[in-house]
């Protein structure tokens, strides 16, 4: 199987969906000739033309709103928000409009819309090119929220997102765009939305993570296995909404110990919901306090390198948390 980077897998998924279905189109800032600032759409303009790869005006809410209207008219838009940090102007269109359209129209107008956005820190992006915004949207029924951590999943999940009849937010860990590599089979396959993946198996404790942190969690788990003989389950959540309670609980019932890792601000972050699920539905299996490792509760990731590194969870910090939890 050929090995490819995360961003190559994302591009291949879009390429295949564009080839498969003439209703699929891409819009966003610089997605055309430039191929996207991260090159996610590189070559697609040249291959599919300006009528299907549409550079948008520099206005995020309109990117989403045009997508909603076009989706209601039977097209299949893939909207790119250049950085997740810039999605906030479109919040109303996503939360009030796309998410509620099907419900508020009595199950008639559905919105088959995919919104892609690079998210996360560690790239020197400062306050406004580093944010994790998933928790704002995982609170909203009607949306689906997907975050891949491997090229295989990125391609299969993005294809599922494009084919889903509901609005899907597809957040991509941009730090891993080129550093995360993995095997991707040639040809058609999809990965279903709503299913977590056991990325690694072990019986001592469970690590729950997604995106870049899932990638790091596997690295940390390998390290503690090697150095300390601690064996971890690593659950890569993949789809944050709807949430795969079954896989989450199955791992916890086996280990009784949970570490939840996310790079968003710790308080009220996505990990709080995982902790709630484990304590409500897994209480009899609990063997230690549920532990969260997240970013500190400061407004955003600072630009200066040492400050950024102090903010970001990394394999070393995750390994330290694993050791602490294992010793409980």
């Amino acid at each position: 199987m050929p090995e490819m980077t995360l961003i190559d897998a994302i591009r291949e998924a879009m390429d295949e969906e564009l080839a498969r279905d003439p209703r699929v189109f891409i819009t966003g800032e610089d997605v055309g000739k430039r191929g996207g600032v991260f090159r996610a759409t590189m070559g697609l303009y040249q291959k599919y033309g300006e009528k299907r790869i549409v550079d948008s005006p520099l206005a995020e809410l309109s990117i989403v709103a045009i997508g909603i209207g076009a989706a209601c008219a039977g097209l299949v838009p893939i909207c790119e928000i250049q950085f997740a940090d810039f999605i906030h102007p479109a919040f109303n269109q996503i939360v009030n409009e796309a998410a509620k359209m099907y419900y508020r129209s009595g199950g008639t107008w559905n919105v088959p819309l995919t919104i892609r956005a690079p998210y996360g820190g560690g790239i020197g992006g400062g306050l406004y090119h580093s944010q994790s915004v998933e928790a704002f949207f995982t609170h909203v029924p009607g949306l689906k929220v997907v975050i891949p951590s491997t090229p295989y999943d990125a391609k299969g999940l993005l294809k599922s997102a494009v084919r889903d009849p509901n609005p899907v937010l597809f957040f991509e860990p941009k730090k891993g765009y080129r550093s995360i590599k993995g095997e991707v089979p040639e040809g058609e396959y999809t990965v279903p939305l709503g299913k977590a993946r056991l990325a690694r198996q072990g019986s001592d404790l469970s690590v729950y993570a997604y995106g870049m942190m899932a990638h790091y969690a596997v690295q940390a788990a390998e390290q503690v296995a090697r150095e300390d003989g601690i064996q971890c389950d690593v659950v890569d959540l993949r789809t944050l909404l709807p949430i795969d309670k079954e896989t989450i609980l199955a791992s916890f019932k086996k280990t009784g110990k949970a570490l939840i890792v996310y790079e968003d601000n710790l308080t009220m972050g996505y990990g709080a919901e995982i902790a709630a699920i484990l304590s409500c539905d897994g209480f009899e299996y609990m063997d230690a306090p549920i532990m969260r490792l997240g970013g500190p509760d400061v407004p955003a990731v600072p630009f200066s390198h040492p400050l950024q590194e102090a903010f970001m969870p990394n394999p070393h910090k995750i390994a330290a948390a694993i050791r602490q939890l294992a010793a409980y």
């Binding site: 009528k51 809410l61 309109s62 709103a65 008219a73 269109q93 009595g106 559905n110 029924p141 009607g142």
Partner: protein, 347 residues
């Protein structure tokens, strides 16, 4: 088109048959009496909320009759009772919405009344934050253009929508959503028509505090869109400018912004009291220029409407509204289980 006078455009309405003119009158009257009944039901304590379109009927019916009703896309706003009735939503549908009863077609009684939606009639579902529908309507228009250019539809297929029409009030044009939608319509030369129903007030705030220009239509040039101001109490004048805008859209000549000047004859909603911000003399003067009375006079003068026919229409409208009210009052409330339906579409 700003330079064109209504006289120059009047060849459109001059071609309307007596039958069509009477149908337009029917929908204006139906909207007015349905609207009046809603106020009455609210004052009787039978319904919780009503938001009115009284005074806007000429604009809305003139617009409806210029498009392919039920085929072209429409993204309306909460005052568009007459527009939606003319497209095919019925008084019964509206009454079910007022009472929040089962069988309500727009949202299964989830939305407040006047939050229109009817997919088979190509009426897009709308929410309460204003102007959100404008860039979505641009998206509908974008899809029309996309499908044509990418060979997904036969351009001569009459069952396919050929334009997207959206409406909002003048206050709502202060929203960024309006700007971004207009901008797309201009940049992509979309088959798109935006009607700003300018009644001078956004609840209580007068137009002078919304914008520094004297006409909303002046803003059109900033988007490379054609702008026109029309007397929104003259149903035929609205029809004329709308027909010109529709031709432009159908012929791929781009978007049009129509500012229809009218007056809201009632408070903003059943929860508002306009005596705190509008002088009574102003309201009384507007009532004397009531768009329905105006059209009535016109039709009587032309001998198309007679006093006898007018009485017959009033009677038929009353029957229709009575029947709708009775049906809605007797209808059951939605099952509690419906609360959980339609969160996600499953394939």
């Amino acid at each position: 088109m700003t330079a064109l006078t209504n006289t120059q455009l009047s060849h459109f309405s001059a071609q309307l048959s007596a039958e069509t003119l009477l149908e337009m009158y029917w929908y204006m009257l139906l909207a007015r009496r349905t609207d009046e009944r809603a106020w009455l039901l609210h004052r009787q304590g039978k319904i919780a909320f009503h938001i009115s379109g009284m005074g806007h009927e000429a604009t809305q019916v003139g617009a409806a009759f210029a498009i392919q009703r039920g085929v072209d896309y429409v993204a309306p706003y909460y005052r568009d009772l007459a527009l939606c009735l003319a497209i095919g939503i019925t008084p019964r549908d509206f009454m079910l919405s007022l009472f929040g009863k089962a069988g309500e077609i727009t949202s299964k009684a989830r939305q407040m009344p006047s939050h229109w939606s009817h997919k088979p009639l190509h009426i897009l579902s709308t929410s309460s934050p204003v102007a959100t529908q404008v860039p979505q309507a641009a998206g509908l228009a974008f899809a029309i253009k996309y499908k044509r250019e990418n060979g997904l539809i036969d351009p001569n297929d009459a069952s396919q929508p050929r334009l997207a029409l959206t409406c909002l009030g003048e206050g709502s044009t202060s929203q960024g959503e309006w700007h971004e939608g207009m901008n797309w319509a201009g940049v992509h030369k979309l088959p798109f028509i935006c009607i700003v129903q300018n009644n001078n007030y956004a609840i209580s705030v007068p137009i002078e505090q919304q914008m520094a220009v004297s006409h909303v239509a002046e803003r059109a040039s900033a988007y490379g869109v054609l702008g026109v101001t029309v007397d929104g109490t003259d149903v035929l004048a609205v029809y004329d400018v709308m027909r010109a805008a529709v031709e432009r859209a159908y012929n791929g000549e781009g978007a049009t912004l129509i500012e229809a000047k009218c007056y809201r004859l009632t408070p903003h909603s059943s929860d508002d009291d306009d005596r705190t911000y509008r002088p009574r003399e102003e309201v009384e003067e507007a009532k004397r220029a009531d768009p329905i009375l105006r059209f009535e006079r016109h039709l009587l003068e032309r001998g198309i409407l007679t006093e006898a026919l007018k009485q017959e229409y009033e009677q038929r409208v009353r029957q229709s509204v009575d029947e709708a009210q009775r049906y809605a009052e007797n209808a059951p409330y939605p099952e509690e289980s419906s609360l959980y339906e339609d969160v996600y579409m499953t394939t």
